[in-house]
Symmetry: C2
Subunit: 243 residues, 2 copies
DNA sequence: CTTTGTGAAGTCGTTCACAGCG
DNA sequence: CGCTGTGAACGACTTCACAAAG
């Protein structure tokens, strides 16, 4: 299975994104070669799993040596990336929305926040990190002008579904949802949900079980409920066992 | 399996946390009864899965009727929760850290941010939402004084591991990690990782596959790599198919 | 001799479908 | 008669272990 176009499991895609991040850092550090052992450890994964994940894309390693960082980086980018400067808009400019405008993790991956929208008229026109906040009525226009196909929702839960419907109608195909609500979208749209409150709740649960229980957590891109639709929870977890 | 103490799969725990959030909202709205169908839809899950999840805790429903919202809420709280006002500290007071200090999703779940730490001396003493920023040297003291057992890391990636080591040494048992780094911790500590850059990358991947491919995303508490250790990625995703 | 790539086996989680109970 | 609770079937992901390649 070295052919590129086959179906790639969701769990694998999530890990590939993590590998990409690690590779970018290694490349910046001047590292030229990595073995599956090294890369897996840096990404919090299992070496065998990493090799299998990579095998979905093709054979980019050299037996007896490992992987060329620069080359693998390019290959991963071609499979996952959408080129540099992918436009993203943020809907809901509260504390969280503001914090994400210049988020380093976004820009380092080639994403750029090109638009902000908020329903509060008092915010219209205000600038955050140099970017003006558009009124909610300008949502469709903003998407058309910026060409964004990915949106981040940081509104209160009750506003999330109506915003989502408008985003979808305007051609958005990927949504990162921080609002505490299950979004309903067509199968053609992918949703990943990040529920920070649930994250702490999960940590509290493990704590209550006592320091003795070593219940593994979910890996970043562990397993997902493979459904035809596309609501995903970003709360992926990665278990880091001690091999 | 109606006995409480059995082992609960990580995937289930993550969903239970989501159910808890939905139930709280329903309760606030005055809803007194829900069926597995209704609750599952609101949480973005499958009715059968929800019933199975709940069965890990016991039989709290009434056949032919559904679940009593208030009662189920209490039961879930007892299994997941750690009581009201669970203390949490945040290490790394950048944009993201500041945004999380008064995050509504935290307080509504009973968590309260009681301490802030940053390595930048220039920030020491500054207040965020009324809470003073402590110097890094006071980390251990802060944990001892507040009794926090859960920490949120929002530092740059390179600082994450050293901070983690100190947190663990001070008795922290749960870590929510936003830094782009795989943390190494003992089995007794649970780590959940949220990598926002990877989240967008995953969305971009699905976009590239064209609107035709309805690759399901990972469910919030889908499958995890069950390891003895406890590094989890919060990037859980939930697929929301159209039943 | 080292490290990749991968079929096969094993494990875990989700979905089905119905018995059980109100 | 409706809806829950659950054993059993199914499917997916992970881990193993080794052949192949450099």
């Amino acid at each position: 299975m070295s052919e590129p176009d086959a179906h790639i499991p969701d769990a694998t895609v999530a890990r590939l994104a993590a590998y990409l991040g690690v590779l970018t850092r290694l490349s910046d550090q001047g590292v030229t070669t990595v073995s599956s052992n090294e890369l897996a450890e840096a990404a919090g994964a299992n070496p065998a799993q990493l090799r299998k994940d990579l095998s979905h894309l093709g054979s980019y390693g050299v037996r007896g040596v490992g992987y060329d960082v620069a080359y693998l980086l390019v290959q991963l980018d071609q499979h996952l990336g959408a080129g540099p400067d992918v436009p993203v808009i943020i809907v809901g400019v509260g504390n969280l929305g503001r914090a994400l405008v210049n988020h380093a993790g976004f820009s380092s991956r080639g994403f750029r926040v090109v638009g902000l929208v908020d329903s509060d008229p008092a915010l219209a026109g205000e600038r955050v990190e140099g970017l003006p906040i558009a009124p909610e009525s300008a949502l469709e226009e903003l998407i058309a002008q910026t060409g964004a196909s990915i949106a981040v929702i940081t509104t209160p839960g009750q506003a999330a579904q109506s915003v989502t419907d408008r985003l979808v109608a305007s051609g958005i195909t990927g949504i990162l949802n921080f609002a505490p609500a299950a979004l309903s979208v067509p199968d053609s749209v992918t949703v990943r949900k990040v529920d920070l409150g649930s994250e702490l709740q999960i940590l509290a649960y493990h704590h209550r079980r006592g320091p003795a229980s070593r219940t593994a957590v979910e890996p970043i891109t562990a397993s997902l409920p493979p459904v035809a639709a596309s609501q995903v929870e970003p709360s992926q977890n990665v278990s880091v066992p001690k091999p």
